[in-house]
Amino acid sequence: MLDFLNALPGAVSQGLIWGIMAIGVYLTYKILDIADLTVDGSFCTGGAMFVVLFSQGVNIWLALLAAVGAGMLAGLVTGLLHTVCGIPAILAGILTQLGLWSVNLAIMSMKANVALNIINPDVLNRLLVSLRFVQDVGNGARPFYQHPIFVVGIFTLVIIGVLYWFFGTELGCSIRATGANQAMARAQGINTRRNQVLGLMISNGLVALSGALLSQYQGFADANMGRGAIVIGLAAVIIGEVIFAKVFHNFGLKLLAVSIGAILYYMVVQLVLSLKLMDSNYLKLLSAVVVAIFLSVPYWKGKYFSKPVKRGGVSRA
């Protein structure tokens, strides 16, 4: 148990970072009503882009921006495959994800992983977040505001704030309408195709930012780092929803719930690892099973446990 408590700040930090990705998943899955599998690829794209650029001496903010841009490009590809080429959204995402595998390796000069030289204090001190900082803040070597929980927490709040504003604008509302009812959206003059592409771009931009932050945090980017990201994202969305659905109705709070969902997910993962309940190899299986169960609950509820409808209601013409 002591292991677990010691590892908790790290788990929360990781959860917060993945939470940004989960917010991206929320945008496509909940708002656009598209299950976008691009994220498994674009997460790594963001990480790879960041590590490569940063290692070459590019300014950290520019490197982050480039990572976001690369993610948005991936979203653009999926969006165009779906809207212009008429490929079902799931398949479009899978195709982009597969293609990104090669692209990601190419970004990393055909290596399966590239590391940041964090042994060098100059490099380490330029970073915004790092696993090292967790310990450093813990033993007083760095001020509290360099703690990843604090830094990524600020990132998350700013992102939620911007998204809250954006989805309240005319354009943002039209994207929500696109996800809610395409026939209605088109009848109201909304270009649903453009909005789907735009939504996928925003989502994958966030996913790539999350990937960039994670590679910064762990000190390397890896070709496999995005594997199963969509499932983790869905898990965070579902956990957040299950716990906060009754209390959080505001859009901004719903996004916050997703972030908290991701944190809880990583705390559970950490607990499982710390207590050595199972080989870490089984974590992905556990995630898949948990998400499958939660996704099937509403369906089963509707099918077998629905309240009986009163007979003899309003007569139908």
């Binding site: 309408a177 009812n181 959206a185 003059g189």
Partner: protein
Amino acid sequence: MLKIENIYKTFNAGTVNEKTALNGVSLHLNEGDFVTVIGGNGAGKSTLLNAVAGVWPVDEGSITIGGVDVTRLPEHKRAKYIGRVFQDPMMGTAATMQIEENLALAARRGKGRTLRSGITKAEREEYREMLKILDLGLEDRMTSKVGLLSGGQRQALTLLMASLVKPKLLLLDEHTAALDPKTAAKVLAATETIVQRDHLTTLMITHNMRDAIAHGNRLIMMYEGRVALDISGEEKKKLTVEDLLAKFGQATGSDEADDKLLLG
């Protein structure tokens, strides 16, 4: 206002399911015309409305609204000129969005969607007044999700949305068919009020011959993808259901009209 010139539409061309839904339809509507459309199942009524709305492109012919050729325009661009209410109450509104948000979306039909606020305070007051006219108590539930409303309430709301930005053309696709008789009558009355108030050029499909006769200044009957009957003016005013069936029989040489039209 609306000029439909000789349009054709065939679905599943070249397969066993080939169906010619529109077989050379021409129709001209003057400004302020309120045309009711009747016809049996598969006569091409809804297909005609969908062709005008631009749900898919027509195979041949042209469609002009208020002097603008919209034949090649995609659905969302035509929406600038057209207000629509669908048969399915679920189709015209976004269930997961609030009543006021749905209205705000409709208020921006035909305009660019910018980064300005999606709904302003002044708008909210405006919508509250408009909802009062519907007399369904919706003015007190403006932030409720539309998914919580009944079918009738949703159709009334859709009607309001369709006319919020005055359309050059209002398309009503059996918008009362899915409602119980009492609600249907209420929605139809609201339709009449709005159409008269704004002098809207309207195409209204209905399954109910009595409604088709009671409303509008012109009635057309479709049969096998064509306009089989077109009655307007004094003749329309004096029309009875019996007349209509007799005329339909003469026009098409078919006696299947009775069952198909009355029951359809």
